[in-house]
Subunit: 244 residues, 2 copies
C-alpha cells in the first residue's frame, strides 16, 4: 500500500477528477486517495443494508437483555442499561471485530456480508483495508478478550457475582485504552485515512461510533470505582471491628 | 526512515561489512541495518554507566519504599513488595518514559543522559529512534497516566484508602495492555527492529525488561480481583442482612 506525500488537506475535487481520468486512478473509495489496494472489489450491498443489519441486531440484543434483566426486579434502570451495553459489546467485539481479526487480509476483495461491512466502515478509516499493524493488534485483543469478557459480565450481573464490577472495570478500561490509542495514532497521522470533515464517513463512522467507546467506558469506570470503594470500606471496617 | 525489503534473518556478517564499506553505510547501531537515521550521534556514555544509573535509582526507590511501608507494621511482605513495585514504576514511567514522550523527535542526535539511555535501549528496539507512531502514543499514555497513578497507588496503600485496589487494577491492566500491544506489533513486524536473538539487546533489553510489565501486572490483577471480590461479598451480605 503506497501513498504519495501530498497532504490530504491540499487534495481538491479537481485533483480527484484528474486522478480518476488517469491510468493510475485509485479504483476505491478510501483515503488517502493515492492508496494502492489492488485486490479491492466494490461492495454490492448498500450502506443502508449494512447499517440496518448492525443497528437491528444491536437493538434486538438490547431489547432482549432489557427484558431479561427486568425479570428479577433486583436491578435498577441504569444497571440494566449497563448490562444491555455489555450484551451489545459482546456482539460487536466478538462477531464484527472478531471477523476483522480473522479476515483482515482478504476483506478488500471479499464479498461476505461482514467483509462488506468493514469495507463500508473503512471509508471512515482506511487502516482497516490496508492491514495496519496497530489496528490489527488492537482489534484482535478487543475481539478475543473484551468480546467474551463482555458476555461474562452480563452473566456476572444477572447472577450477582462478587467480581461483577471487577469485570466491568477491566473491560471498560481495555475499551477506553484501545479507543484512545486508536484516535491518538490517527491524530498523529493527521487524519489521512479518512475524508477529513465528511459528515458521514469522518464524523459519524470514525468520530461518533468510536467516541461511544470513550464516553461510556469512562462512565462505567467511575461507576465501578465508586461501587468497589464502597465495598472495600465495608470490608475494611469489618476487618477493623474483628481486630478490636 | 527507509529500509529495503531484505529479511533480517538473511543479513549476514559479511553483508554488514559490505554495507559498512559502502558510501551508504548506516552509521548507527540499530536494526534493521538499512534504517536511515541522519541525525544520529553516537553515545559518549557507556552502557554500564546507563545501566548503573537505571538500576541504582530503581534500587534506592525500592529500598526507601520498603523502609517506609514497614514503619506502620500493618502491611505484609508481599503487599510491601507490591508498593515498592509501584514506586519504581512511578520513576520509570514518569521520568524515563516521560522523557521519551517529550523528546522522541530529537533523541537520536541528543546527548542528554536520558536521551543516551534511550539510544542504548533502542539497540533492542529501534522503534524508539525512528519515532514509531504506536510507540509514541503508547509511551505517552504510560508516562502521563500510569506514571502519576503509580505514585498515587503508593500513597493509597500507605493510607489504606478504599480505592487502593481499584488503582492497582487500573494501572496493572494499563501496563499489561500496553506491553501486550508492544510485543504483538513487533511480533507482526517479524522482530525487524532488533538483532534477533542477541543475548543483551534482544533478550535482555527487548524481551526481559518488557516481560516484567506482563508478568508482574498479571499477578497484581489477579490479586486485585481477589481482594475486591472478597470486599464485594462482604458488602453484598451486609446489604442482604439490612434488607431482611
Amino acid at each position: 500500500m503506497l501513498r504519495s506525500d501530498s497532504l490530504k488537506g491540499e487534495t481538491t475535487a479537481a485533483q480527484i477528477m484528474d486522478a480518476a481520468a488517469s491510468p493510475s486512478a485509485p479504483l476505491h473509495p478510501f483515503w488517502p486517495r493515492d492508496l494502492l489496494i489492488p485486490s479491492y472489489v466494490a461492495n454490492d450491498r448498500s450502506m443502508s443494508e449494512i447499517l440496518v443489519f448492525l443497528f437491528s441486531v444491536s437493538g434486538l440484543l438490547l431489547l432482549v437483555t432489557w427484558l431479561v434483566t427486568g425479570s428479577s426486579g433486583q436491578l435498577g434502570t441504569w444497571r440494566r442499561l449497563a448490562v444491555c451495553w455489555f450484551a451489545v459489546c459482546g456482539f460487536i467485539h466478538g462477531v464484527i471485530e472478531g471477523w476483522f481479526s480473522l479476515y483482515y487480509d482478504v476483506i478488500p476483495g471479499d464479498q461476505s456480508f461482514l467483509s462488506q461491512l468493514w469495507k463500508e466502515y473503512s471509508k471512515g478509516d482506511s487502516r482497516y483495508v490496508i492491514a495496519d499493524n496497530f489496528t490489527i493488534c488492537m482489534e484482535t485483543i478487543t475481539a478475543w478478550f473484551w468480546g467474551p469478557f463482555s458476555l461474562w459480565t452480563v452473566f456476572a450481573f444477572l447472577n450477582n457475582k462478587p467480581y461483577r464490577f471487577v469485570l466491568q472495570l477491566i473491560i471498560s478500561l481495555g475499551q477506553l485504552y484501545g479507543a484512545v490509542l486508536y484516535f491518538f495514532t490517527e491524530h498523529r497521522d493527521s487524519y489521512v485515512h479518512s475524508e477529513y470533515g465528511h459528515p458521514v464517513y469522518f464524523w459519524f463512522y470514525f468520530v461518533f461510533m468510536n467516541a461511544l467507546w470513550v464516553v461510556i467506558p469512562l462512565l462505567l469506570i467511575v461507576d465501578a470505582w465508586r461501587q468497589m470503594s464502597t465495598a472495600q470500606t465495608f470490608a475494611d471496617r469489618t476487618h477493623k471491628a474483628k481486630r478490636k
